[in-house]
Symmetry: D2
Subunit: 461 residues, 4 copies
């Protein structure tokens, strides 16, 4: 892109929408304080990510650097907060008017970054308590109007990488299309690649079936939104505070999960889900979990599967099904799985809109901060209890993602060098191989730059 081509809109003011109307003066005052102070820079960045929606995926920092003069100002109005933009990317506007869907997303950012921060200060949540964490996740989703009373349990979460190849991308669209044809709806991490394909496919399926209330839920987090800007199909955007709450939102909100090829982020998600589903307390709760990809990507899943079996045992593999190159089959099995979920919930009078019953161990719930100390103290030994090891492996992958693309992680690595991950030799060899395979398959490459590992595996006898 030629930087001379960058077009901006000088000035533009937009009025509140959705949940950001009908605010009290007290809420507005609190938002002004927070939104002009502590979280302003974060809010500015997230707005820019949303406005920049059509750009090909890109280095977050590059995006931000391209619009150094961009700013957004909160203006208190009695009927809700107005936003005033200066030097905003022109692609978010048509004839000087902000595109409706983008405007909705901007107010989702206002709600989740500014309003939630302001509320947290006066709320009673003690985020050191597992019960409170779950209630807080619920509260954020409810405020975002994601929960809707009376909807069928048919929200399919799709995980997978943003840097997948054309064949894989087409396959994610095929799967989404087959799910959309069958009345399923989609929830993803809301960036590009495997996060966009299923939504795009489903939207075509919905159109053919005359389903005009298609749900395309995007769950993101502040530290990643700039790198993975919400794709324009997302019609319900929520920004969860951190990766752990985002993961909890995925599993409590979604009714089944499909995993497409991806990198370490995807591996983190898989380990997180296995950590939960292998928990004895969750036995008997149906949860459809399918890994799938085109035949060209079969190898990827065999490696993952092998690693999981080696690390956590063969029984764990009963929790998921691997289907290669058969989008229709994936959809048919997922829909059958959702029927089982519906039957179970209706029989046990459990809500369709939030899976309160699922037990999530606090090791998976508490935020893992990827300092070098925390990374170094993960103990990756196979003789540890299954749940603990799964949680530690999840944390290890999480730290690597942070080192790759999140600001905090990148700074840690810049300052202290690569992370050291310790563990049992055999297991560490397998991990090493898996990560190398990701690198070879270019699953860890950020667009435009060669990948340099941010970690080092330290084997112990």
């Amino acid at each position: 892109m030629n930087y001379n081509d960058i077009k901006t809109i000088d000035k533009c003011t937009i009025a509140a929408r959705g949940g950001m109307t009908l605010l009290s003066q007290e809420e507005i005052n609190r938002m002004m304080e927070v939104g002009q102070g502590g979280v302003h820079e974060l809010f500015r960045k997230c707005c820019l990510a949303v406005l920049n929606h059509d750009a090909s995926d890109d280095d977050a920092m590059a995006v931000l650097n391209r619009y150094p003069d961009f700013n957004v100002k909160l203006i208190p109005r009695e009927r809700g907060i107005h936003l005033q933009f200066t030097n905003a990317p022109a692609q978010a506007f048509v004839d000087g008017k902000m595109i409706s869907g983008i405007r909705d997303s901007i107010f989702a950012v206002l709600r989740d970054i500014v309003f939630q921060s302001a509320q947290k200060e006066v709320s009673s949540f003690d985020l050191e308590q597992p019960f409170d964490i779950t209630n807080y996740v619920f509260e954020i989703l409810r405020r975002a109007e994601v929960h809707q009373y009376g909807l069928e349990p048919n929200l399919v979460v799709c995980w997978g990488g943003h840097a997948i190849n054309r064949v894989e991308y087409q396959y994610t669209k095929d799967v989404g299309y087959q799910i959309g044809l069958r009345g399923g709806h989609i929830c993803t991490g809301c960036g590009t690649g495997a996060m966009k394909g299923p939504m795009k496919g489903a939207s075509v399926g919905h159109a053919k079936q005359r389903i005009d209330n298609g749900r395309y839920v995007g769950l993101t987090e502040p530290s990643i939104i700039a790198a993975e800007a919400p794709n324009p199909i997302v019609n319900n955007l929520v920004i969860m505070p951190d990766i752990e709450k985002r993961l909890e939102a995925f599993v409590r909100l979604g009714h089944g999960i499909i995993v497409f090829p991806g990198g370490v982020g995807t591996a983190e998600e898989i380990l997180y889900l296995i950590g939960i589903l292998s928990d004895k307390r969750n036995q008997g709760i149906p949860f459809p979990f399918i890994m799938t990809g085109p035949k060209e990507s079969a190898e990827y899943f065999y490696q993952i599967d092998e690693f999981i079996r080696f690390a956590l045992g063969d029984e764990v593999a009963d929790l998921y099904e691997i289907i290669i190159d058969d989008a229709e089959q994936v959809a048919v099995k997922m829909m059958a799985g959702l029927s089982a979920v519906k039957l179970h919930r209706s029989r046990h009078k459990i809500s369709y809109y939030f899976n309160w019953a699922l037990h999530i161990d606090e090791k998976l719930q508490f935020p893992f901060i990827p300092t070098h100390e925390n990374m170094a103290s993960l103990k990756l030994y196979r003789d540890r209890p299954l749940g603990e090891l799964a949680a530690s492996l999840r944390a290890a992958f999480s730290g690597i993602v942070a080192g790759n693309v999140k600001e905090f992680g990148r700074q840690q690595v810049l300052k202290h060098g690569v992370y050291q991950i310790h563990g049992e030799k055999d297991l560490m060899d397998k991990l090493d191989n898996l990560l190398k395979a990701f690198i070879e398959q270019k699953r860890m490459k950020l667009p435009g730059s060669e990948y340099v590992p941010v970690f080092e595996v330290v084997k112990e006898a």
Copy 2:
């Protein structure tokens, strides 16, 4: 009524509706605690008042006594709280199923009595702060989904007595009909008499104009709901914590106010409104304010008018208009007034759904507790500033209402004898006359019992 005729339904469980679905587990836990403990008796009484909706107006205590075995139990369910009733009045049911509108009202009671109590404990409102009081009033109304973005400013508050005569009742229906025909909606204190007539008339007007989203907002308070059970036309019931917050809700939510004949309660409302509208800080804010009745009731308004002019001065009379026996004229003037309100708000970008701009002095905002000491220390002298005197007069009337029908007031009077009200001789004479006229006109009679005054005017030179 023959007590042998009282029919009840043994047992009945109903599931949550409206805002009481989509609750978090934490909210449910807190509600269980509160609803089974501190506020349970209040909750039980209010439920009974709602279930007893078709009974002719009656002594609250009599109603409660008629169903001594009635009870309601909160049952926590994941999808919201269920309610289990025992020995509930049969008239609330059809073929064993609770009537829909009553079910809605029951959940309004759950929301305003139990949920709000539970929330208050964890909220940040400091109800000693005027700003916080207003925000709290807003919060209660918002939670009750009374505010609706995009509606026109056409909610007409109707005040007046519950014990009016047939001619007066018919007239309130006529006025409501004329307002309904013109697209106005109605908000009242939600009992019978002048609180029911305008809604009934408006509903016919709406039907003829094919307006199928008629709004019939009822604002009540826990201490009066049993005596003035919500009439069945009310489709949006809100129980404000006390009379002061209820009055604030009326003036901030409504766009104009009509006063029909009534007793001391109505006098209290008139003084409250005059106290606000005569405040210099509210100059320039249009607020249509009409007193009206059939020709047979003309005397009533002349007495009120005379008293107001004597007590507060002739200029104050410019704030309202008195129209006798012309329902159509009342509606035409009110609608013209609402147009002025709309113009003003739209010009100044003020919200249609809540009148934040109106300044309410803290003397009118803080609860007045009708102890004998408080009543005795009201200083009713005409040389006091207008706002202060209006507030004191409002408090005096408020205390008399409490002594008549509210539990706290009645107990005070039983214990300590009638209230002593002090003030300047001339003014006290006028007040004395006004109250005597109310008694003569049977405006202070509770149905079924002869009225015995609960106060004594003490004149000072």
Copy 3:
């Protein structure tokens, strides 16, 4: 009413609504031709009846005479026909604007009187063919958007007199209320009395159950609309061409029928329905049929019942049930009957919205013209086949109604004297008694005038 009080609106033009928009130029041209020519006077009269909606029931001719200068002109507009009124009754307007519901009814009149006449000229219906008659009835109802795909079979037809007393009127409201509470909807002949009460009651029941799409279908005919102006609750008005098609519409559209006290018109309806339900070809088709009234009116039904048993045999009495003074019971039984109807239709894949399966003998279907010759040639002998005798009795009652209130019949009687009805002595005695009882009970009195019989029973050995 003081004629000086009559207020009119000089001039007013209204634009088409509902089905009368989206017309082709050809349809408009044809309507102009018809509406300014042949049917103009009929159209004018019907419009006046609708505009005069709030007047107490009255002699049709008196209504028309009170507004001699009233006129309505069709104005062709590309987007549908406009109507221009001169000297229209003021009560149809609010602040110079026609009330919405009345405007809808006016366009129902335009559609059924003018548009249908214009269409008939180019249609292929041969109204001498029973099959075509039924299809034509369907076509009129479809055009009026009465049929609605997907609605439950819960439309209860209520028959009965317009000149009932207060106690009876209150009872019709009670029954309507109980039906409305149970989700039933109402269809009547759309005038006052027993045609208005059930709708009024049901509308209160619907409001309490928060049913906001209450259906109040009014089926009338041109020759009676002026005498029985549509009550303002009717939200779906259809003007059928003659009494026979109106009766066919009642029985094919409604899912059950309740008969309240009435005069000869009601007797005609009862005989019509018995004629159909006693037809062997209709055996096995469930059709709830209840006669009911307050205890004060019990005698009425005993007389009817006795007459029917005497004339047509005791088995015929199995087709209906008589319930005295128990509105709740009526509603409970009717709703149970509707459940049976639903089960039967859904089992046999029969449409809910039109009872095609019901066989209506052509004797009941073809119009009976009440000339003296036709009246004199009815043969009321009990040795005739059941169906034939029922049809002849129905025709006899029909002729008497015409002689009472319809223009054609009244002119016949003025010209040729009272009708002569012939038949077997015993049967004629019973008929004589029945009609006398109607007269005594003032069921045949037109308001404001003493009733003078229009017929004479001629007994034969």
Copy 4:
């Protein structure tokens, strides 16, 4: 495609939808007669074309040959006609259930082919009368529920070829996207290529703007539907009886027209529109008319423009605007044009939903039957009046399209050899060049076969 891959569904019955429910028994009887007799083969073919929706565009005959055992049977049901399919293409089904959108289209075929044929027999339209033709076109569109009262005049007709190249296709999507972003809706001939691209683009624009009632109207005709199967985005399909009525529907229904590159069919459309807009009687009626394509296709429009100027004069070129390679500009100008249309219609009280005011000369309205005699008698001389020459040129192009792809035309050419077109030498030279250019640019190629001209230009001095 490997013919062994063809999958079919053995048997499948579907119930009526949309306008095909609520039919009278008479209508059903008439449809059975027509649908099993005269038009059955046509109905079968059109159904097959719709069911075969996802196939790449193809020779119509090839499609039909691929499913020789396919059949469809009408089954009379009281609630509307059911359809029973045997050996239907599997791609129209998901898990054995027909895709919703396809089902809708199938019932559009039933309506337009079977119901309309059945109705025509009993209708009063005299299709030799211009006024009746227009009313008939209106009637078909109304029955298809295309007209909708209250919609803005923003339906943009897009014309152009189905066999355009990738660059052109992308460009049609770009234009559709820009129009969709601005709230415009799309109407096309409903096949692939330029008929699909704008709809696809607009649907993305609508999604981004949260416009969830996007209109994608497809107007086709029986003789072309098999060759140009409705694309799956079309949500309102209408099959007009012949090309002349289809063209009339385009210009009376659409509010502006965009022409993309195409072949002779597109040339026919252009001449048709010029014939109308150059008619003196249509002066002053705004009608936005833009020709556009990517820069690679600029030559195409220069040739068309040159030919039009030469044949009909330079003034005619004022009726349209040519915009090259600027999708945004096209949309901006079209929307400005639509604003002018709205202003004009609202000022003159003309309906938004059908352009009755446009005068269409009967030469353009009457069907042109492409026999050799008719083709030979077209007189293409520039000294003829503008309107006549435009009409004759339109007919010449129409005949060529028929010879290329319509059954009747192809049979004529097979039987009698190529058409002979006569005219003035200079004009015929230009025509010759234009057609040769189309051939060179492969605009007249049918997929899969080399194009062989079906006409011969005969020049005269």
